[in-house]
């Protein structure tokens, strides 16, 4: 399935300044795998060392958060668009009062 992955501005330095990447993938996991296989420097900004999508990284298939679909196993179809959207977070100390 030909899907398009939209690359957020901060990560375009790792995709040769391309704002979107087309790839063939049957699932979201395949698409992200293809993307980070081609552009390996992207991987550490999207995934933790044990291969999980970072907690602040949200992945949308078209306009749906994949957490509410079948997560990374969500199936794709021709013409789908995958978006990578961060939840911006931070703070001064450990959480608590």
């Amino acid at each position: 399935m030909a899907v398009k992955v939209l690359i957020p501005t901060p990560l375009r330095q790792f995709t040769g300044k391309q704002s979107s990447i087309e790839c063939n993938a049957a699932t979201v996991a395949e698409a992200l795998g293809s993307l980070t296989g081609t552009f390996s420097e992207l991987r550490k900004h999207l995934f933790t060392e044990d291969g999980k999508i970072r907690s602040f990284v949200n992945v949308y298939l078209n306009d749906e958060d994949i957490r509410f679909l079948d997560k990374e196993n969500t199936r794709t179809k021709d013409g789908d668009t995958i978006s990578i959207v961060p939840s911006i977070a931070g703070g001064s100390r450990r959480a608590g009062k």
Binding site: T9, K44, F56, S87, I88, G90, G91, A95
Partner: protein, 149 residues
């Protein structure tokens, strides 16, 4: 270098004071020049969505992120980065900040001590994610200065 007009810097400080003792947060919209200087042209204040621990955490949802992106696009600007406050804590990024950051963005932090804004710093995450590097914050470009850069 991050060019930040005194007026906008004051707006960040005021936001930090207004939301004290909670952390404030917002987006910075502007232009990113290939010559290395980026200039903040407008701020897009946001609501700290972290209601369980707002004194030492902030959270900007994907919906707010998209709203900030739209605001930038409508003005013909880029989403350059984010600001937040550290109430009663130095204006230095925490480990939690590092874990939740991406390179390229400018992360401005203002310390707010007892309700009074103090230091304002800016940081960028290194590409290998190991640490933040300080980013010089300067006043806005003077007319004619650096136009040929």
């Amino acid at each position: 270098m991050l060019l930040l007009a005194k007026k906008l810097e004051q707006e960040i400080r005021d936001h930090g004071a207004r939301d004290y003792p909670h952390e404030c947060c917002g987006a910075m919209l502007g232009t990113d020049g290939d010559a290395g200087a980026r200039e903040v042209r407008a701020l897009f204040p946001l609501i700290n969505r972290r209601d369980d621990s707002p004194r030492n955490r902030f959270s900007i949802t994907p919906e707010d992120f998209r709203a900030a992106e739209r605001a930038a696009a409508e003005r013909g600007l880029d989403l350059l980065g984010w600001y937040h406050s550290h109430p009663d804590h130095p204006a230095r990024p925490s480990e939690f900040d590092r874990e939740h950051a991406w390179p390229w963005y400018s992360y401005v932090i203002v310390s707010v001590d007892g309700g009074v804004p103090k230091d304002l710093t800016s940081w960028q995450l290194e590409d290998d994610r190991t640490k933040f590097q300080p980013e010089v914050v300067g006043p806005e470009r003077v007319a004619g200065q650096g136009e040929k850069d």
